[in-house]
């Protein structure tokens, strides 16, 4: 049985090894010509909307041409997701002139989820091509590393578009996405099933496209730096792969949450700030315990007569797994569901309340477990309103080794609040956070 499996494996691998390499889709041949980075730099006219890190330029040589790829700033949005990245390609055309095109490479979200690392051999997604004036020229769509269709600027009546070298069962449909400059790009896409049999160039550009292929000839460069941590210039890397799109869950719009306080007049109002702490290991100073790392949330309450608005929010990483250590941040509604161990309440002036509101409405963009976490967020929010919380620092580590680095943490602030037991504004009996009102427009 074992021997049979080995034979099957060998045969399978042999079949793969014998597969003919996919043609690059290049038809307009240009003699391979040298193109140095200095030539490109001398030729390149600075585009104020694009930032280039020439140090990260990558040189590629195919059968027909040489080209340079550089990562640039900006990130396209596709299907409401910020997905993909942007690159510039420089090559020599048929007339031996240096030409520049902008590539927006957008991997398919589910493909990215599945493979985690984008590679040329199995790339699935779309590549949009623009000229140096950001004029949309066209593009290509790929499925499993093979060209599956082509993309052209949308016309009023796409049914009249001429499709060259397409099989009869190809069909066009209109779609759109938002490019890295924030402009909506409306295009027509041809999708052929199973494979688009293009015999030549797709004709984008000025007709003199020299024949680089964004995902061919083993060139992983244009799409090959996703998730592997390789050099990518200053181009935006593909998003962290974790779950299906949307699975990590969106945060709330803290701005909309804070707007609710504007519905109650300041005159005669009482405003309170409460800090809720769920300690990792209640009663100890351990930074990790049955409640994992614990949590610190902030509650804002404004009372004026019979009108009351309460919002309880917390600061979280917008990621999953170990990516949570350092990730983009999100604010989450902690109202009504956080079982806290200790809390402390302060009455503040309208002016200071407004400052805290403003801080929460515009939270820091990045979460870092050690340098800026949920406790840091709450601490800084209170600081902005002239409230100095009890010492939030704790020695990071499960056993709090002496001499270790101190960080703001739920364990630290929870312990400090516990030590204030007996004060009228301190609750050491725990409870559940009050419900938040929610968003207001």
């Amino acid at each position: 049985m074992k021997r049979k499996n080995i034979i099957i494996t060998i045969v399978f691998l042999s079949l793969i090894a014998c597969r003919k390499e996919k043609e690059s889709g290049e038809s307009q041949t240009t003699p391979a010509s040298g193109l140095t980075l200095d030539q490109v730099k001398n030729w390149y006219q600075t585009d104020s909307s694009i930032t280039i890190d020439w140090q990260q330029a990558e040189h590629h040589q195919t059968k027909n041409t040489a080209y340079w790829l550089v990562g640039v700033n900006g990130r396209p949005g596709f299907g409401k997701l910020k997905l993909g990245y942007r690159r510039l390609v420089f090559y020599k055309n048929n007339h031996n002139q240096i030409t520049e095109q902008i590539l927006e490479i957008i991997p398919d979200a589910l493909y990215l989820q599945r493979v985690k690392t984008v590679s040329a051999t199995d790339f699935t997604g779309r590549i949009f091509i623009f000229d140096r004036k950001h004029l949309f020229l066209g593009g290509l769509s790929y499925r499993n590393g093979q060209q599956a269709g082509s993309i052209k600027p949308a016309s009023q009546d796409t049914s009249r578009l001429q499709v060259n070298n397409a099989e009869l069962d190809c069909s066009w449909f209109d779609s759109n996405y938002v490019d890295s400059d924030g402009n909506a790009v409306i295009y027509s896409e041809s999708v052929c099933d199973p494979i688009y049999l293009s015999g030549g160039s797709d004709g984008f550009g000025d007709g003199s496209t020299a024949g680089y292929s964004p995902v061919s000839s083993g060139d992983a460069a244009p799409v090959g730096h996703g998730g592997t941590g390789g050099s990518s210039g200053n181009s935006a890397p593909p998003p962290a792969v974790s779950n299906l799109p949307g699975e990590s869950g969106p945060g709330i719009s803290s701005k909309d949450f804070m707007k609710c306080f504007g519905n109650i007049p300041d005159q005669g109002a009482t405003m309170k700030i409460t800090v809720y702490v769920q300690e990792p290991w209640p009663g100890t100073t351990f930074n990790i315990g049955p409640n994992s790392v614990g949590h610190t949330a902030i509650g804002l309450t404004k009372i004026n007569g019979s009108q009351t608005v309460t919002q309880v929010v917390g600061f979280y990483p917008d990621a999953t797994g170990l990516d949570k250590m350092h990730a983009p941040s999100k604010v989450v509604n902690n109202g009504g569901d956080l079982e806290y161990n200790v809390s402390i309440t302060y009455t503040v002036s309208a002016d200071n309340f407004q400052k805290i509101r403003n801080y929460i409405a515009d939270p820091p963009a990045t979460y870092d477990l050690t340098s800026f976490n949920c406790t840091s967020f709450v601490y800084q929010a209170c600081q902005s309103g002239n409230i100095t919380l009890p010492d939030p620092y704790s020695t990071f580590g499960p056993a709090s080794p002496p001499g270790g680095p101190a960080v703001m943490a739920p364990a630290g602030i929870g312990d400090s609040i516990s030590n204030m037991k007996g004060q009228s504004n301190v609750n050491t009996n725990g409870g559940i956070t009050p419900n938040s009102k929610g968003a207001c427009q």
Partner: protein
Amino acid sequence: MKKYIIIIFTLVVISNLPFFNFFLQESYTYTNEDNTFSYIEEPGKGTSFWGCQRQFGRFLCLHPEKEIGDNLIYRTFTIKPWRFWLWREMIFHNERFMLPYKEPTIRK
């Protein structure tokens, strides 16, 4: 062989300890039929499935019309049984995994 089994078993047990919930568990998300309710469970950071049930109960109180025909809660996360570090949750706290699945709406 026995040594490897012990190592694997130890790894599975340790990875399932609640201490590592924050690092190893995903943010579970829930919604209702028409997406008017949504909830994010952040294991290891204060929230739990109990909190989700509590919030959904409050939501139904505030929107009694949803009690009729739309009072089910759906999970919008997929079950990933190969994640051995979630086995404790799947076995001992499996309520969330028993919920019907609904495609998540793509976030902005």
